[in-house]
Symmetry: D3
């Protein structure tokens, strides 16, 4: 009876993509269900997986919408001579 | 103060529909609120209901996205001579 | 594949009880599953129901923990001569 | 490690808007993160905020979809001579 | 920024246990975080995992609390001569 | 109709405490409800707040249960001569 609810931001994992692909979602579903089987011995048929995609401006970290938070992180990295990106 | 959160797949309940209708959603809201009144004596005004619709490819069962899981179920049924559909 | 998540406060529905009983929980599970069958034609076996019980001090309404909110509501009612309780 | 999940109806907070603006969402994210810092001393970087927007017909209160519930509330107010709107 | 919320029933995965062990929980956390890294390239430090344990009587499947549902499943299996357990 | 769901780890915010106090929870409820009023003009009476407390071993960050994650963070800080704690 496990339920795995995965919240991700709606964005692509590479150039030319703006959201997780159907293949990536299938891999998340397969991997999460397998994890419950491996660790707690739950049959695959007993696990539900829900993937919720959230717009970037609806997700906050560090008190900021994610796009702003990332800009700030990037700035910090560039300012630090030992950790360029 | 109950909160009832109902997660469903975004698909029609009959031909020519591709999502739950406004009437169906209203029936879910009414029924869920009435249930809390009947069982726990919670006034209708004290219950919130949220219906979350999830794309079929974002919902997994049996380690597979729902459309694949259903195909597999259908195959099993057809292979079993005593349980045709 | 529906998931019905019901959040309730941990308190009894009558004297001498301090939480929902097993019978009340079973009635919520039965009723919620039946609702999805009646409205969206979802088989009982395809619906998961989760009941989450939350301590009264962890639930807020009107900007107050529920016990305070109820006291305030009761005061308002008693102050209004046309709506005694 | 706090997670703040805010569910709101998808509607504008004023004329000419049909959803929360990016500025309003940023204010929710900032305020919620600051709240956890002020009350529980959680660093901003340790808090995630997710804003989920729900269509009006998917949100129920008083056993009704929100638009119907509001109409009913408005009617009650108009019927009461001491509390016109 | 992914959030993985895993809901499981509070029960042991073997004799003499009545809940998931700390080791099993650590394995779920590690596996879920690794999955997001493998599939969507999300750094481990950007993923939160929450494990929610639900009492058996608070979880429903097939319109029944899980303990009843399992008894029913077991009965069905025993009645079928080709699929004894 | 906003719902604010706050997930926190069950631990004290200072010495001699092992969980958030009733006062801290009341402050979270008040602050979250006020935030929705300030930003989206939602009346206090229209907002529900739920505080969910999660055991430390049930919360993961960086692929590890929170207690392990914190130990690792502390080690990194101590190893770095420019960022002692």
């Amino acid at each position: 009876m496990p339920i795995v609810h995965i919240t991700i931001t709606r964005e692509g994992s590479g150039p030319g993509r703006n959201a997780a692909t159907a293949e990536e979602k299938a891999a998340l579903i397969k991997g999460a269900s397998q994890l419950l089987l491996d660790v707690l011995n739950k049959p695959l048929d007993a696990t539900f997986v829900v993937i919720e995609e959230v717009e970037l401006e609806n997700f906050g970290w560090g008190g900021l919408p994610v796009p702003e938070f990332r800009k700030q992180l990037a700035k910090k990295s560039h300012g630090a001579p030992t950790a360029p990106e």
